[in-house]
């Protein structure tokens, strides 16, 4: 097991290197001069030239890339072009907020999504199933920014129950988490429903029922446990995606997270910041995938046995 974990961790190195090269190339070869973007359209030409020199942008692409990789291996990911602070200082100051937001969003999706999915599957084609279908359809179709603004208007402006912006207290996280949970929840409900439908038609479920097991036990223990693997995969993937992809929610609720940081950095061609955030998120997704794989082993003894063989 330990060997497997180590091997998986080392496998991330070429992936991260590949990603770093792709992002660095995209940032270098797409039009737009970082010095010009920093100084603005009305900057004088001497100012832009001097700043380019200062930022080392006049050097050859490969020289710049190798310097970047060498520095990164030493732990130096550079300072942001935009605000001159070390990129990881900014990343780490924002990461806990994004993590908290993503965690609560996933938590809400799972807590509501899994029971609704199970009930939908068990009560297939009943009003409950159809309602859940309508709700998931609505949740996936509603754009995040609209849902966010509507929730703010209702709960913040009209009713005055919850604050619209900020991150100071738990109350500040309610609306953004619910907004973000919207689309994730739809995925969890649909995934749970379809996997459960497959599982409850299996022979062993029939056997469990035939031997007189309680229906609740049949569904939760025999059925749900076997349906859990794909659900965990989807939840893990969504978690990873939301880490870097909660841009709109973060922007609407004025949450200083990674998503808004990435968008601002890309627009400003803040190369060190873009590189560090993309690599960081790639690393985080790698780790989440690893955790999901380990969870498989805990849930499914067959998988565990495979790891142990390796």
């Amino acid at each position: 097991m330990l060997r497997y974990l180590l091997r998986r961790t080392f496998q991330m190195i070429p992936v991260l290197l590949g990603i770093s090269f792709i992002i660095f190339s995209i940032m270098a070869f797409t039009p737009g001069d970082p010095a010009k973007l920093i100084l603005g359209e009305n900057a004088t030409v001497e100012a832009v030239t001097e700043l380019r020199e200062e930022m080392g942008l006049n050097e050859n692409f490969f020289v710049r890339y190798f310097k970047y990789v060498l520095d990164a291996l030493k732990g130096d990911f550079g300072v942001s072009y935009r605000n001159k602070i070390p990129v990881f200082d900014e990343l780490f100051s924002r990461f806990p907020t994004t993590l908290k937001l993503t965690f609560w969003a996933i938590f809400i999706s799972v807590i509501i999504g899994i029971p609704v999915g199970i009930i939908s599957a068990v009560k297939q084609y009943t009003i409950i199933d159809n309602s859940s279908l309508v709700i998931t359809l609505i949740l996936t179709s509603i754009p995040g920014f609209w849902l966010g603004l509507m929730l703010i208007m209702l709960f913040s402006l009209k009713l005055g129950w919850l604050p619209a912006t900020g991150i100071d207290t738990w109350k500040h996280f309610v609306l953004p988490s619910v907004t973000l949970a919207g689309s994730c929840m739809a995925t969890v409900i649909r995934m749970t429903r379809s996997t459960m439908l497959e599982v409850i038609r299996q022979d062993y479920i029939r056997t469990a029922r035939a031997k007189g097991a309680d229906e609740k036990r049949v569904i939760l223990k025999h059925g749900f446990k076997n349906a859990l693997l794909p659900i965990i995969t989807v939840v893990g993937l969504t978690f990873g995606l939301q880490l870097g992809g909660a841009i709109i929610t973060e922007s609407v609720f004025a949450i200083p997270g990674l998503g808004t940081l990435m968008v601002t950095s890309v627009r400003m061609k803040d190369i060190p910041m873009v590189m560090a955030s993309v690599l960081f998120i790639a690393f985080a997704i790698g780790i989440i995938n690893l955790i999901v794989d380990i969870l498989y082993a805990f849930i499914d003894p067959r998988v565990k046995a495979q790891y142990e063989k390796k």
């Binding site: 924002r94 402006l157 604050p163 609720f253």
Partner: protein
């Protein structure tokens, strides 16, 4: 049957929830549960805090290290300048009590105010002033305001002399921009990398903390040389989504908001809990052509476009009516703006006639590059429709900002484009020198690639004298040449607006978005 009914009920409930959220009168807003609140007092106690919304995060709080208006907005509370510009554009004393401009307009001698303290307790000296000005002159970020300045030298313990490279009329106005803010030399030298996020100035507010992406906190500086401010705790809250900013102002989570969608202007004006202030901004939109290369090197064609443009319908269509037509190449908020100046009137027939004279009786197709932001695309689409009326088919190419700056501003690889210019100093020189002087060709400014010796001479004359009447004459002549040659077509200036809690006093709009919380009180 039952199933269908159930689904219907659920759908109705959902729709009702969102309709309830969406409609209703904003003026009945309930204060948010956050601190702040819309009431000026809390149990009869006068409020002493203020939350100011920022639409982006400042890049740096070092006056020489940034050039974005958001950073300026914050720095205006932390730093002071030697001189200041008051609301009618007059230069008034700041950290300098008095000043004298040499006869040849190349030197300005400032007498420094005594006993002014920095936030760290140090007393401001001439050394701090010389250091701050010289650092600003060296910086790339401040080049637009400092490129006519050579250096500052210490004369004695209370006098400093600013030496210019050339006679320059608006030099004092440049000294009033926050880029020339006076910093504490000792603090800067002790912490050169950290100063931008831990600034020490002489301004009315001292820095407390900066939570990245979230807020910047300041507190009143009790030893401020003009007396302590009325507002004690000042927070700048970063709200990048403009719609959220409006809601935050409406429910009292912020007290002052200066960036909002144009569509929200009406509801903010009508909201009885909010006071709305606006003035003509220091930004003006114009149509730019590449005068040197390509299809628009044909003067008749440029003139045809100038007759095809209807400013009034552009203002209504793209700016919700909140803009002022501009016909001379200088925005109205600037010194040197030529009142009553008439550009070519909207006359589609004349435009068609000129188009035929230019050699395109059957019309032509051109490419109009523009930025991906709505503040460019919407007016560009309206101009496109207006040009189509006279037979010019403009194909719009929407570009990402970096690409647009490279192609249009650096390489001047474009035919026609709708662009704007923001003046950092409300003086005509900032609208014409960069845009029209041949020495700025090929750099980021003279994107028209305009090269007319007569115009160059007038621009140089206009910038080198202090005589206001004389300068005005030059700017009038410059405007005439721009119109005659149709180098660019001035369109409009939009409004610079600020909305605040109605109980907040002392709020004033500003063309260049300079707001001073020192003047505010509850």
């Amino acid at each position: 049957m039952f199933k269908k009914k159930g689904i219907r009920i659920i759908c109705c409930l959902l729709i009702l929830t969102f309709v309830l959220a969406g409609c209703g009168n904003n003026s009945n807003s309930t204060p948010g549960s956050d601190k702040g609140g819309s009431a000026p007092s809390n149990g009869g106690v006068k409020r002493e805090d203020l939350i100011f919304a920022l639409a982006a995060e400042p890049t740096s709080l070092d006056p020489k290290g940034s050039n974005d208006t958001v950073s300026f907005r914050v720095m205006n509370q932390v730093f002071d300048t030697l001189v200041k510009t008051d609301s009618d554009g007059t230069i008034v004393p700041g950290l300098a009590e008095e000043w004298k401009v040499s006869e040849d307009n190349t030197e300005i001698t400032f007498k420094i105010r005594e006993g002014v303290k920095f936030h760290n307790g140090d007393v401001m000296t001439v050394d701090d002033v010389v250091y701050s000005v010289n650092e600003a002159i060296k910086s790339n970020f401040t080049k637009r305001t400092t490129n006519t300045m050579k250096e500052a030298v210490k004369i004695d313990d209370s006098t400093v002399k600013l030496i210019l490279n050339q006679p320059y009329g608006p030099a004092l106005k440049c000294m009033a921009t926050i880029s020339m803010g006076i910093v504490n030399k000792r603090a800067m030298e002790e912490n050169p990398d950290g100063f931008a996020r831990n600034p020490i100035g002489t301004g009315p507010y001292k820095f407390v903390e900066w939570k990245t992406g979230e807020k910047l906190v300041f507190e009143r500086f009790d030893d401020y040389y003009r007396g302590a401010a009325s507002i004690k705790d000042l927070t700048f809250k970063i709200l990048t989504d403009q719609n959220t900013g409006v809601i935050a102002l409406e429910n009292g989570e912020v007290d002052v908001l200066e960036t909002f969608p144009k569509s929200a202007r009406k509801s903010l004006i009508e909201n009885e809990n909010i006071s709305f202030y606006e003035t003509e901004s220091g930004l003006y939109y114009h149509i730019s052509f590449n005068n040197e290369k390509g299809i628009f090197s044909n003067k008749k064609l440029r003139q045809a476009v100038s007759y095809a443009v209807d400013r009034e319908s552009l203002i209504i269509g793209a700016f919700e009516g909140a803009a002022v037509p501009v016909e001379c190449p200088i925005p109205p908020s600037c010194f040197g703006y030529v009142e009553d100046f008439k550009g070519n009137e909207f006359n589609p027939d004349k435009a068609r006639e000129l188009l035929a004279e230019a050699g395109y009786p059957d019309g032509l197709t051109v490419t109009m590059k523009t930025l991906e932001s709505a503040s460019y695309t919407i007016p560009t689409e309206i101009i496109q429709a207006q040009l189509r009326e006279v037979g010019i088919n403009a194909e719009i190419e929407i570009m990402e900002r970096g690409a647009f700056l490279s192609e249009v501003y650096d390489e001047n690889d474009y035919e026609i484009s709708l662009v704007n210019i923001v003046v950092p100093v409300t003086d005509a020189d900032f609208a014409v020198f960069g845009r029209l002087h041949s020495s700025m060709k090929g750099s980021g400014n003279n994107i028209q690639r305009c090269d007319i010796p007569e115009l160059d001479e007038l621009i140089m004359k206009g910038r080198s004298t202090q005589d206001e009447a004389e300068r005005k004459e030059y700017y009038e002549q410059i405007s005439e040449i721009v119109k005659e040659e149709a180098i660019l077509i001035p369109l409009l200036t939009d409004m610079s607006a600020i909305a605040a809690n109605k109980d907040l006093k002392g709020v004033e709009p500003s063309a260049v978005s300079y707001y001073f919380v020192y003047n505010y009180s509850w």
